[in-house]
Amino acid sequence: MSNKIEDWRKRERDYPIVTGKALYTNDINLPNMLYCTILGSNYAHARIKSINVNKALEIPGVINIITGAELMDKINPLPTNSDYSKLGWHWRIPKVYPLAIDKVRFVGEPIAAIVATNSYIAEDALEMIDVEYEPLPVVVNPEKAMEKDAPLLYEEWGDNIQAYIKFIHGDIEKSFSKADKVLRVQLKEQRYSGFPIEPRCCVADYDERRNELRVWLPNQTPYQSRRYIASVLNMPESHVKVIVPNVGGGFGNRIVPYKEVIPCILSLILKKPIKWFESRRENFLSQTHQRDLKWDVEAAFKNDGRILSIRGRFIMDYGVEGTNRDAGSPAIVPAVRSIPSAYKLEAIQIDAYGVVTNKAPYGAYRGYGKDKGNRLIERVLNIAAREFNLSPEEIRFKNFIQPNEFPYRQITGYLYDSGNYPKVLKRALQLLNIEYWREQQRLLRERNRYIGIGLAFMVEPAGASIPYSIFTGIESAKVSLFTDGSIHVYSNTIDIGQHSKVAIVSVVAENLGVKPEDIKVIMGDSDIVGLGPWSSRGVIYGISAVVKATKALKLKILKVAAKILNENFENLYIKDGVIYSKSNSEKQISIRDLANRVYFFPGPQMTLTQDMLEKGETTLEAIASWFSPTTIKELSSVYTTFCCGADAAVIEVDLETGKVKVLKYVAVHDVGKIIDLASVEAQVQGGIAQGIGGVLFEELIYNEDGQLLTTTFTDYLMPTAIDIPEIEIDHIETPSPVTETGAKGMGEGPIIIPPEVIISAVEDALAPFKVRISETPLKPERIWRLLKCVT
């Protein structure tokens, strides 16, 4: 089976991508298509006094130019993607239009859109638009934005706090009163995000005769995107269709098409197909950002290294907002609730602030919020380990939830499905050969070389169903048998790089007994009800629905076969698309033959059972939906599966330059039952690369005026193959009792662990100098300065 899947993967997925045959949105060209370009604000905070487009309109080939003010009456504001005010929380939703009306709040905020006969002309016209700004004071630092006299982004709010939630889990006072030692831990993580190889792009085609808008976009949530676009355009949802061609990478930032609605509006106005694609600079400026946060907490410990509780303050910098242009604001919740991770804590209490500043909007990026809580607890434990003279593994073994304690209700409400944390960590230590490296460290120090060993653990809450948001957790799948013997699977578990099609083909082939090449997967269409891949939910919701539907179809097929072959239903099995009798090898029929008999020659009456005929069940297809059983009873138990992982690494610090080199990296993950090993390992590799990039050098840098200084890949440093060491991976499989396959969501986990692994390794390398790291990225100059302070 696995070889066949490998062949399928190469032929159907990889070959078109590496040979340039895959179809991306920008490859779609329609007759009479026009081209759009979008003018972004030069100012981070300013009132728009006037926009003069006359000169631009004179350029031959320019068809139309629209501005926010003139659109205002024709469209609706961008709808929100989450409204937690309904849960009684401080949660503000700004009124935001696709094009700024009277004020701009970040550099790159769309101001006007130009349509021309080609993109070059549109770009020429863009330079001729004259915008008169009245600059306003800018705020880019969230702590400054929280001060009383800070410039206000939304005057009507009276302050810059979009979200405030006081999280109280357990009795914090009581727990702290038992503490032998209280440690203060601060951690600041810079602004960065995922930047896919394919920037944003959109082809919108409004057909006046049918009053239908077709939209092609690289998107991970076409079902929600259709609703979003229809809402802005004030059109019935059923008159909008979103189609997703190949996607050139998605890390959470393909969820909300806030800028892509602009070409949609233009297509509706001009009744012509419109294409929009952006430059890398525009992508950096206005694609949503992530991370950018600060923890300041106290952690209570017993003297033996047991952690009791954590309390403190958390600030997330949302930039301009995180509820309408994307869905970043809600990440504040898992950021806090994932703090207890793999450990038994008594209480946590966190004041969490989501603050608005004059920077690009806040969105989703692999990890979403789970990275943030996990990173905090791992930081706390690594610091505590040194404090109590324990090794980083010892302190974890002391605090782990034990294998016999599952299902485990975490204090923050999550219901952990299964796991064996000590086993995973032990395997990672073994894989690294940690004792060998500790000995090497000792020897090398004598020769003035400083290597460090770092490790961290994580638990990834995956598969969310979040009330009052576009992330509720609904999902469907349809599986159909056609008369050519092919199986069509309809599922919106879109492949944004995570090989979801491979997983679908694997489970259908296995559960139905058909060849991979006979399976066709249809995905990326807003007509399929399903929320798409995010929150590592593909194998949880998508695959579970597909498996349920496949099993239902198999049952139907076998019932019909039993009648045709005059054989007992239980005595039949399907292999490579042929139904066989277990006892009589003469009795067999291919599913293709069966489908033909049922549908056409002779037809249903002669082939289906009486029961099926009476119920009108004449087609060989099944539809199924799936919902997370763990999220039904308690609303705070938002996630479904909880995979875990332990990474460990050896790094070397060049004391003179401060440069960190990763020498060895190992990763052990327990993702439940593995459906497709190659897909899992590719995700682990990619996530670790992103995690290492994030901790070492990726950074979106704004100056005081709110100008983004990193708008190319020579300034925003994305790791290349040279920067990433060979990664050794191993797996432990503790199946999930809640999903159909036993698999657990695992896409976000791999990015969560590396930052703390590297930070703790650097601290370990520099232990003789007592260097404490509380801020990233660890660019050489930062480490050089830390060393300068202590030497």
Partner: protein, 297 residues
């Protein structure tokens, strides 16, 4: 904004005379396309919008690497990075240039980018300009009106992205030192990762006699708006019996005397660049010494 340039007129002359004719006609309204690894992105972002682009891709005569005499190698301006990296002559006679080329950019850029293009672009963080200084390079510049002139690398770079090439001139040939076996060399650069440019580059070429430094050249990149020769350090090293302590001492003292004032940017402060110039220069000299001793590096 789409990544698209303003309209321009494109020419691909058949020979150098045609190219010089065109350049003479359009002067600073024209830009020379010699690989396009910097020019095209600049045009796409409209940071540069020349009215005319003169593409030298047909000038195959300007693609060569040859030995001029015992001591000098001549390289055509349109020779790509990849040709230099894999040239047996460069490997034998100028391994320093091979290593410098190996360390820059990625395969796609190396297949397109040319040595002449890089030198004329004069990015203050680029690899080739300091290498040219270290290798005593001379550039042959041609124009229609004035024919040919030869310029020393040391005089060529006058500011960031600015050289003394005139609007009607084309760089056609680069001449560099060939190595004799009694020379050692060291090439050190510090970059952070990703596609980032180096923060600082230090290149040294060293000749010793009986443990005494007979000749040394040190070129630095990233510490100023142009590549520089560290002549104060060079003259202090000459005549010294070199060991680790002396190298450290001279560099720490003399680098201060040079009063370099590197630029600060988002990647590194002036102070850090200055310190790294010391660290990398020291390392480069030690590597050169090691090579001379045949210790391997």
């Amino acid at each position: 904004m789409c990544p698209l340039p303003k309209a321009f007129e494109y020419f691909a002359p058949e020979n150098i005379n045609e190219a010089l004719d065109l350049l003479n006609r359009f002067k600073d309204k024209a830009k020379i396309l010699a690989g396009g690894q910097s020019l095209i992105p600049l045009m796409k972002y409209r940071l540069l919008s020349p009215e005319y682009v003169i593409d030298l891709r047909k000038l195959k005569d300007l693609i060569f690497i040859k030995e001029k005499d015992q001591n000098r190698i001549s390289i055509g301006a349109l020779t790509t990075y990849i040709m230099i990296e894999f040239s047996p002559l460069i490997e034998q006679k100028c391994p320093l240039l091979k290593e410098v080329t190996n360390s820059l950019s990625d395969l796609q850029v190396k297949n397109r980018g040319t040595i002449g293009g890089s030198i004329c672009h004069a990015d203050p963080a680029a690899h080739y300009p300091p290498a040219m200084l270290a290798l005593n390079a001379q550039f042959k510049l041609m124009s229609k009106e004035n024919g040919e002139r030869i310029v020393n690398a040391e005089d060529f770079f006058i500011d960031a992205y600015t050289t003394l090439i005139k609007p009607d001139e084309i760089l056609t040939e680069i001449e560099i030192d060939a190595f004799q076996n009694d020379f050692g060399w060291g090439f050190e650069y510090l970059n952070y990762g990703g596609a980032g440019y180096p923060i600082v580059i230090a290149i040294t070429i060293l000749k010793m006699r009986n443990d005494v430094c007979e000749d040394v050249r040190i070129a630095l990149g990233g510490v100023s708006l142009t590549p520089i020769r560290a002549k104060i350090i060079e003259s202090s090293l000459k005549g010294e019996k070199l060991n680790s302590e002396i190298i450290d001492k001279i560099i720490f003292e003399k680098m201060e005397e040079m009063r370099i004032n590197p630029p600060s940017d988002i990647h590194a402060s002036s102070e850090y660049r200055k310190e790294m110039a010391k660290v990398l220069t020291r390392r480069a000299i030690k590597k050169a010494l090691k090579r001379l001793k045949g210790d391997g590096v």
